[in-house]
């Protein structure tokens, strides 16, 4: 549904620039790179959830034939706790230095304690076993309810909460109006508590890097990440090598979803390479990915909503406790800041608590925190709509945020598209269609649910260079790893602006030493930010081209326009000249002032938040407790779909992850505090036969602060999903689940309990 019709390339489903490499197996991901003389690095990880490290003896490992280097925390720059926070983006380097390599304490099973480089992977693994670590095993806690107990084992002794040592690291709140008054004026008040389990981003490509350090310290990194500049900065800070000496080359990235916004291996491989004088390759196993990277928080949320009989929300209160894992930094900002944002609520308190516990440090996961909060809020919204006997979409429309609404997290909204998403959902073929009856003899029942969601979206630093080649084609370089097709969007925009076929535009991702600083691929920011700098660069190029044509024609540059890939006189009055094409002007460039190209670097502003509304139909096998999503529609305000295929792809991908989170995915821990399902067989992500087609409705309310109207689209689609599924299951069974995942054992148990209750 592309509403923009006067464009040739914007809104077209063009072939992505990196597509050919990816369908032929030629694309180079991080683990595909090798170097002459390369050796292999492996990490020794703590088997304990919580232990003091009294000493590490690496001497036996160092003596093993084939071992070239061993590193421990002594080789990683220490950011001492007392000196205070050293922030890089949202990451505090005090925690990062301790996360990549445990210092005084190991805080989760899988926490690195040493790393070895050897001539083969097998020798490196053998050497790890020869390292002797003297652990003092400590009591531990993983679940929030255990970690916040007064006598809980404390991970970080320096931390105080209400004057006492605690695992509660911080709290944020967003407040509006008077909560007591708001609830007092309500006719119906519903309060519920929800829990969610930690879930992993589930990228199929494990973390990997190859790093070479020359004797003069010049360092080259090939790695898979969501930001080569983040890799450079973190590696620099953790190794002491200046940024100017580190060239971080972004490999193709095999999925990230937020999980590749921090480093794990790069500082270790750099120090191993520096010590050994050999290029070092490190590739995590799937088990290491599951034990020691990501996931997002498990949570405990309480949401209370009060309404008048006519459906007006008078007050809401949300309390969101999120697991940070071993180090502070759970996404409480997303949970507290996004969950109520689709609604205009006069009296509101939204609080987030950051809780440390003995599991791996959380990493960002698609709209970090927002899906957790939205699950709780949107389920209560559904229950309130039920109590009011109102259609759940009408209930949302009645309270919808719109232009002028002041959001609890600060901004007063400009023109936003939330209402449009609800209206589009209401008038969708899906919402109009009857649910259809399941085969009754099979014991199957069906239900439908809806939910909405919001994500902030982001702008930030981006750099681009647009160069015209000598033969009159175009090379665009940006600084953001492309995970989901952003290069295709950039090609469309650049072709549109220059008036040429998109196949004449080559789009590449520069490394840290060849393109200006560009912030992470994250926050749904990449196409928003990079198309701003690409647009400004292309406009500069067009200005140069007009000036060149004016010079050739000996007229004023203002009398030259750029259209359909060529310079034309603006009118017959300006002169009668044959158009000068990009190719002709490129050929004349040497004689007319030199190469044609322009670069722009900006801290981009004006990213508007994104809203989505989803409809989900489920069918539940009441014998087996299996819930299947049988129809799904995601409606989202996408600003403007530059490449509709990849915008739909973001929506569909987010929905699939949400269905996994809702129905199956969870970290399961052993009694010893270890992850018990660290592989794809037992950590059950949706497979192809689990899902139906995933329908998308792209509502386009262009962002007025962006040259093409772009809004971020990548993260919103995960936000409403778990609630939409939960609400559909409630609709089918009349049972409401207050914890995720709604997996077959849980659904079966609830159904059995329901049956027992009926029988009693």
């Amino acid at each position: 549904m592309n509403l923009v019709t006067n464009n040739k390339w914007i809104g077209q489903r063009t072939i992505r620039p990196d597509g050919m490499d990816k369908v032929t197996g030629r694309a180079q991901f991080a683990a595909d790179t090798t170097m002459p003389g390369m050796i292999w690095g492996k990490v020794l990880r703590s088997p304990h959830p919580h232990a003091r490290i009294r000493g590490i003896d690496t001497s036996k490992a160092e003596k093993l034939a084939g071992v070239k280097a061993v590193v421990t925390s002594r080789d990683i720059v220490d950011f001492t706790i007392e000196k205070g926070a050293v922030m890089l983006g949202i990451q505090d380097m005090r925690w990062m230095c301790r996360n990549v390599m445990a210092r005084d304490k190991a805080l989760f099973p899988g926490h690195p304690v040493a790393a070895v480089a050897a001539t083969t992977e097998a020798i490196a693994a053998e050497a790890c076993k020869l390292i002797e670590v003297d652990y003092e095993v400590l009591p531990w806690s993983i679940e929030i309810e255990d970690a916040i107990l007064p006598d809980a084992p404390i991970l970080h002794e320096f931390n105080r909460w209400e004057g006492k040592p605690s695992n509660i690291m911080s709290r944020i709140e967003h407040k509006k109006g008077d909560l007591t008054e708001g609830f007092a004026s309500a006719d119906i008040v519903i309060e519920r508590t929800f829990t969610t389990r930690p879930v992993h981003q589930g990228y199929i490509e494990p973390h990997a890097c190859l790093i070479s350090v020359a004797p003069d310290g010049k360092t080259t990194i090939w790695s898979s990440s969501q930001g080569q500049f983040m890799v450079r900065a973190m590696t620099s800070m953790l190794t002491g090598i200046p940024q100017s000496d580190i060239r971080a080359i972004p490999a193709e990235i095999g999925g990230g979803f937020g999980g590749k916004t921090i480093v794990y291996l790069e500082p270790l491989a750099t120090m191993l390479a520096k010590k050994s004088g050999r290029p070092v390759k490190m590739v995590m196993t799937r088990e290491e990915v599951m034990r020691a990277t990501g996931p997002t928080s498990g949570s405990r949320s309480t949401v209370k909503i009060g309404v008048k009989k006519d459906g007006t929300i008078t007050a809401a209160h949300g309390t969101f406790y999120l697991q940070a894992g071993a180090f502070p930094g759970s996404p409480i900002r997303g949970a507290a800041g996004c969950s109520f944002t689709p609604y205009d609520i006069p009296n509101l308190l939204s609080e987030g608590f950051d809780v440390c516990s003995n599991r791996s440090k959380v990493a960002a996961y698609r709209a970090p925190g927002a899906p957790i909060g939205a699950y709780a809020v949107e389920c209560v919204m559904d229950e309130v709509a039920g109590a009011l006997k109102m259609d759940p979409l009408d209930f949302r429309l009645k309270n919808a945020a719109k232009q002028g609404t002041k959001a609890a997290h600060g901004p007063t909204f400009p023109r936003i598209g939330y209402i449009e998403t609800v209206e589009a959902a209401k008038s969708s073929p899906h919402y109009a269609a009857p649910l259809g009856e399941a085969d009754k003899t099979s014991g199957k029942v069906r239900g439908r649910g809806v939910a909405s969601g919001f994500w902030f979206n982001a702008g930030g630093e981006s750099s681009a260079q647009v160069n015209i080649t000598e033969d009159g084609n175009v090379v665009v370089t940006t600084g953001h790893p492309d995970i989901g097709g952003s290069r295709a969007g950039i090609a469309n925009i650049c072709a549109e602006l220059l008036g040429i076929d998109y196949r004449r535009v080559s789009v590449i991702i520069g490394d840290t030493q060849t393109i200006g600083f560009s912030n992470l691929t994250g926050g749904s920011r990449v196409l928003f930010a990079s198309s701003m700098v690409v647009t400004q660069s292309a406009e500069k190029v067009i200005q140069t081209l007009r000036e060149r044509a004016a010079k050739i024609w000996n007229i004023d540059p203002e009398a030259v326009k750029w259209e359909q890939g060529a310079a034309h006189p603006v009118s017959p009055n300006a002169g009668q000249f044959e158009p000068l094409t990009l190719k002709e002007l490129a050929e004349k460039a040497p004689a007319m002032g030199g190469p044609i190209g322009a670069g722009v670097q900006l801290n981009t502003q004006g990213a508007d938040g994104g809203f989505g509304t989803h409809i989900c139909d489920v069918e539940i096998d009441t014998e087996l407790g299996i819930a299947r999503v049988i129809r799904y529609t995601a409606v989202q305000d996408v600003g403007r779909a530059i490449h509709p295929g990849y915008v739909e792809g973001q929506l569909q991908g987010g929905v699939a992850q949400g269905i996994g989170w809702a129905l199956n995915e969870e970290y399961i821990y052993t009694r010893e505090g270890k992850v018990d399902n660290p592989g794809f067989l037992d950590y059950r992500m949706p497979v192809c036969s689990d899902l139906p087609m995933l329908d998308c409705i792209m509502v386009e309310v262009p962002n007025p602060k962006h040259p093409q109207g772009v809004k971020g689209v990548g993260e919103v689609p995960l936000v409403p999903v778990m609630a939409a599924v939960a609400n559909a299951i409630h609709n089918a069974l009349g049972l409401r689940f207050y914890s995720l995942p709604m997996s077959p054992p849980k659904v079966s148990a609830a159904l059995d309990a329901g049956v027992r209750q009926a029988a009693e």
């Binding site: 990816k22 991901f29 683990a31 981003q201 990228y203 569909q652 991908g653 497979v687 192809c688 036969s689």
Partner: protein
């Protein structure tokens, strides 16, 4: 441990390599053979990113020993296109945005090709169950399934035209 010498055929070409007894086929492909199009996502046969065919049978190369390739015919993603001419599946994946990050794409294409060789006219359900061993975390499978169904239809049409 002495290395094992293996003689096999990969993508129609005779190949030889040396491997350790415990090397997987995926290790051999990505290592000495330099065929890095097959990916390792799990090394346990759960993700399908390393899918290849052995004598037309679809297998996870991470679950096969490198030494087992002796005397067999292997096909990998690198052998799918006919020179510059893409296989219809590859073309449809491109046209229909059936890939995002691309890490699962090699395995998806090899598995889809194996399906269409067995069953040129699969239903949506048959495609979904056949590809259930190939994980994709980016796309939600929607565009992949559509691309496979469209490629199958196009290939059937081409076969009909060729027969006439």
């Amino acid at each position: 441990m002495a290395k094992i010498h293996v003689t096999t055929t990969i993508n129609g070409e005779p190949m030889e390599y040396l491997c350790e007894p415990d090397d997987t086929m995926l290790d051999a492909l990505r290592g000495p053979l330099g065929l890095t199009g097959s990916k390792e996502g799990c090394a346990s046969g759960d993700c399908g990113a390393c899918s290849i065919t052995v004598d037309d049978r679809l297998v996870c190369s991470c679950l096969m020993l490198a030494a087992e390739a002796e005397g067999h015919e292997l096909r990998t993603i690198e052998g799918m296109a006919d020179g510059e001419r893409l296989h219809p599946l590859q073309q449809k994946f491109l046209e229909q945005a059936a890939l995002q990050c691309g890490i699962c794409t090699s395995g998806m294409l090899v598995a889809s090709d194996a399906l269409l060789r067995k069953n040129p006219d699969p239903s949506e359900e048959e495609v979904r169950f056949w590809l259930a061993g190939n994980l994709c975390r980016c796309t939600g499978y929607d565009k992949i399934v559509r691309a496979v169904l469209d490629a199958a239809a196009e290939m059937r049409e081409a076969t009909r035209e060729a027969a006439q």
